[in-house]
Symmetry: C2
């Protein structure tokens, strides 16, 4: 049994770093505040008797030795970075639940057979540097280290240089054998709350396609340029935003379609926009539907561009297919919920998680707990301490099961 | 007769300051480059024997004395600031045409009765600091000096502080009597070119209404938040951008409607936008139609907000009614074109100009010359040296007529 209060106190302590006025968190990847959060985690892990290593992409591993340290570790973890207007639980919960498992094993004097590790993955959010899940992506060999080190934020700073600056470009090579990987996370959606379940047994994650779209028209004066002569990139982009939304609505149930980022150029009040850049985020649990949505998007954008005398470029920027998790790991999670008598249900993750990339290189499972109103990526993100404790108990059980076998 | 070559050379010399790669100019109001442009103008004016004064909002006046210096001056001028991706002629032409008039009077040894002044108005473009036509607006008592000094750019810097920094917060009080005001400008629209006229005799300017709109929805995760539960501020704003465009199209002939500036928050690829801020620029030669467009805008935005579960605030930010110019000044311009035998036509200005505010405090007229493809507020903005010379000759005639009477 984990200590729910201790877990909660650690969460609230971490939430002070990058706290926002509205009660949320802003700890962008590889920023000064990310460094502070990492430092606190490392200190806590050392106090709990772990050895800490950092790899070249800034992933942190806190290791609690087992009886047989030649075995690969049973690993858990998540991320400490947040959205610009993020919450106190997204990612942080999975990291500190891992720490609470270590503390509980210490309290009970349990020595596992395989070692246990808690991982902090670099830049899971994909907000400051895009795409998301970078640290685990390099770990799982989905991305090349050099490519990811070279990714730039909007100010042109690279992730590699920023990690070096905050002292988290480690010496270790990226990637190593892992016996099993578990990740606890808030659901970030409304389903568990609506169904009144404490635990979501995550069977897999839906697929994602991210795009970058550039629309080019012609800048001209907003006053003396007659409507009929305009090639207004923003009017075209606005139709495309509508089209993205419609594609989401027409592929129900389960499709999601979002334009989260949009920039107008030159962005001057009395200039007809000459260029708009925006991003698209498509998600679906079935790959065929994602492919269909892709076709619908390209058709819609081409049609709008032709009708409006604009040029458009639609570039696929990131893709991963729907990812089923490991049967045994999913079963270990389900057993844990039954053991403690928690209400539970199967669920597919709507978000990408480090677990999605870990599933490529290790047997993987995830544990979801409800979050208030299903809201995350928002400063008001909230979760019930009892649910967080329950998820952590299930994590403890699943990890123990795998670390003893 | 003015010297077209000398005028062109001065224009090209000025265009080196803040030159952009695509052959345009970026000299934002009260920036270092604006200072460089102002310094060059001041040097040229002193070399032409003028005395230079600067008022508290940074307007520059270069004075060529007359026989009776107790008379108010006959004034011409325009602005040296540009759009972020602006051209080489918008504003600059009117300033340097004024300088060319002074140089021509010097060459011919003409002493006018009233003194002649060339004005450079601060921040006409309204891009870095909004709204537009600030220097002439304070001069004409439309805006209070303190309000305009306190206007901020996107980085929070105030116009007052920036003028002080570049050494152009002058000592003179803002505003003084003016006998007549003329302004030469490129048309910034396609009409003169299409009608093959050299000179547009500007009879007045259309009215403008500028708005600031804020749309508020709810930030949430782009992955696990079902389409049906979303309150996506950008999807709503995109419909409003469409509505603005439709209102422009439905109020033809002559209406213009533009969203030039739009900002998404938090602007993160995997976050449903919680807030969008954008601006609207409505124009029409008839005030009743502007009022009708205002009603249509408010109705459309309210309806979209209600249908989408969003909140919207539509704030009128700037307004001036259609402005007819002074009959005698317009006649002086028309006479000049006839004298030189230039093809000409009456025209209403689609853009706001410093002349619009000057018309409140002095008899005012404007002279338009064609610009290539009607394009301005664009780096490719271009004009024919012969047309620029013609406009300057008409300006010379009109100013002389008023300065001798
Ligand atoms: N959990 C989470 O917010 N992950 C970021 C990647 C995504 O948008 O799915
Ligand atoms: N001439 C010009 O570009 N003026 C700026 C104000 C406006 O947008 O009309």
């Amino acid at each position: 049994q984990v200590k729910g209060d201790r877990l909660w106190d650690s969460l609230m302590e971490m939430a002070k770093i990058g706290a926002t006025e509205k009660g949320g968190n802003c700890r962008l990847a590889a920023s000064d505040l990310d460094k502070e959060g990492r430092d606190l985690f490392v200190r806590w892990c050392r106090e709990a008797g772990c050895t800490v290593t950092v790899d070249k992409i800034g992933n942190i591993f806190a290791r609690r030795p087992g009886k047989d340290n030649s075995l690969p570790p049973v690993m858990t973890g998540s991320h400490l970075d947040t959205q610009p207007t993020g919450g106190r639980f997204d990612g942080v919960y999975g990291v500190l639940a891992g720490l609470e498992v270590v503390r509980t094993l210490n309290d009970a004097g349990i020595e596992t057979v395989a070692p246990v590790e808690v991982a902090v993955w670099t830049n899971e959010e994909g907000s400051r540097f895009s795409p998301a899940m970078m640290g685990s992506g390099v770990f799982a060999d989905v991305f090349a280290l050099e490519d990811i080190q070279a990714k730039q934020d909007v100010d042109g700073k690279t992730l590699g240089a920023e990690l070096r600056r905050i002292g988290y470009e480690g010496a270790e090579p990226v990637g190593k054998p892992v016996k099993a990987y578990f990740e606890a996370h808030i659901e970030q959606g409304p389903i568990l709350e609506a169904e009144e379940k404490t635990i979501g047994v995550v069977t897999g994650a839906q697929g994602q396609r991210w795009y970058e779209v550039t629309v080019v028209g012609q800048e001209a004066h907003a006053g003396p340029t007659p409507m009929a002569r305009r090639r207004d990139a923003l009017v075209g982009a606005a139709r495309m935003v509508q089209a993205v939304n419609r594609i989401g609505l027409e592929n129900q149930p389960n499709a999601c379609a979002t334009v989260g980022f949009l920039q107008v150029s030159p962005n001057s009040r009395n200039v007809i926009p000459g260029r708009v850049f925006f991003t698209i985020d498509f998600r679906h649990p079935q790959d065929e539907v994602l492919t269909k949505m892709d076709r619908e998007l390209r058709d819609a954008c081409s049609l709008i561009a032709v009708e409006s005398g604009l040029e458009v470029e639609v570039e696929e920027f990131w893709y991963f297919p729907p990812t089923p998790f490991d049967e045994k790991c999913v079963a270990a999670v389900r057993e844990g919920t039954k053991l403690y008598g928690y209400e539970h249900m199967n669920i597919v993750s709507g978000a990408g998680h480090d677990a999605v990339y870990m599933a490529k290189v290790a047997p993987t499972g995830m544990i979801f707990v409800p979050c208030e109103d299903g809201i995350s990526h928002n400063e008001v993100e909230n979760a019930d301490p009892k649910d967080l404790e329950a998820g952590c108990n299930v994590l403890l059980h699943a990890m123990l099961e795998r670390a003893q076998g």
